[in-house]
C-alpha cells in the first residue's frame, strides 16, 4: 500500500522522540504494507530539516531533554543518505501547482469547520496527489484531516 508520512513522524524517527519505536514499526522491516519507498517532497524535506534544527534550539530552554547540534547533524546526514539511496525514502518532483487542486478542495471542504493548518493541508493534498492510500503521522490534527479526506491512518 502506498504510504505518505509527514514531518511529525520523520522528526520523531530521526531524533528518537516519543513514538519513534512505533514509527519504525510502521515504516520499517516488519511493515507488510510498505511496498514502495516513502515519497519525500521538497516541502516535506524542508519542514523536517527546520524542525530538527528547531529541536536543538528548543532543547536549550531548559527541561530534562537535550538535542545536541552533533546528534541533530548525524540524524540529518542519515536522512539525506536515505533520500539519495532511494530505498525507503524517495524524492518526488511535486510542485505547488501539482497539489493546488487538492489543496483548494480540502481547504474549501474542511478548514472553515475544523480550522486545519496550512502545512497539514499541504501534506494531505500531497498524499492524495501522489495517490497514496495511507497517511502516517503522530499529529492528531493531521490525522483527523487525512481521515476526513478518505485516507487510512495509523
Amino acid at each position: 500500500m502506498k504510504t505518505y508520512v509527514d514531518a511529525n513522524l520523520l522528526v520523531r524517527l530521526y531524533l528518537q522522540l516519543p513514538g519513534h519505536l512505533e514509527a519504525l514499526e510502521q515504516i520499517g522491516d516488519k511493515s507488510k504494507d510498505l511496498t514502495t519507498p516513502l515519497p519525500m517532497t521538497d516541502l516535506l524535506r524542508f519542514e523536517v530539516l527546520n524542525a530538527i534544527h528547531r529541536m536543538v534550539f528548543e532543547s536549550r530552554s531548559g527541561g530534562q531533554w537535550r538535542v545536541t547540534p552533533e546528534a541533530a547533524a548525524i540524524g540529518l546526514a542519515d536522512l539525506e543518505d536515505q533520500i539519495v539511496r532511494g530505498v525507503r525514502l524517495r524524492c518526488v518532483p511535486l510542485s505547488l501547482a501539482d497539489i493546488e487542486p487538492e489543496f483548494a478542495s480540502l481547504t474549501a471542504r474542511f478548514t472553515a469547520k475544523h480550522g486545519f493548518r496550512t502545512y497539514d493541508i499541504i501534506h494531505v493534498a500531497s498524499a492524495i496527489t501522489l495517490r497514496c492510500r495511507r497517511f502516517l503521522s503522530f499529529d492528531a490534527k493531521a490525522n483527523k484531516l487525512a481521515k476526513l479526506a478518505g485516507l487510512l491512518t495509523n
Binding site: 514531518a7 531524533l15 516519543p18 519513534h20 552533533e70 546528534a71 502545512y119
Partner: protein, 90 residues
C-alpha cells in the same frame, strides 16, 4: 495515460512513443502500469538498492550514536510540546 484509479496506467503505444513521460510518472508516483491490448498488465518501478542491513538495525545504530553525542530524548509527557515545535507553533 489513465489516472482515474490510484495506479497510473499507460498503454503499449505510450511506452513506444512517450517513454520519457512514463519514466517521469514513475519518478513521481513510484510505479506505473502498462496495459497491452490483450489485457496483460506490466508494472514499471525503479530497481531497489539491495539493503545491507535491516532498517531496524540501521536506526538502532543511529540512535546509539546520537545518545553518545549527548542526545537525551524527551519523555512522553513532552508530547504536546513536541507536536507544537514540529508544527512551528511554538
Amino acid at each position: 495515460m489513465s489516472d482515474m484509479s490510484t495506479v497510473t496506467t499507460f498503454t503499449l503505444r505510450d511506452l513506444n512513443r512517450q517513454p520519457a513521460k512514463i519514466l517521469a510518472a514513475v519518478r513521481k508516483f513510484g510505479s506505473v502500469e502498462v496495459r497491452t491490448r490483450n489485457g496483460e498488465i506490466f508494472t514499471i518501478a525503479p530497481k531497489e538498492e539491495r539493503r545491507k542491513k535491516s532498517f531496524s538495525k540501521h536506526f538502532q545504530a543511529l540512535w546509539a550514536k546520537q545518545r553518545a553525542l549527548g542526545l537525551v530524548p524527551p519523555t512522553e509527557d513532552e508530547n504536546e510540546r513536541i507536536n507544537r515545535i514540529i508544527a512551528g507553533e511554538e
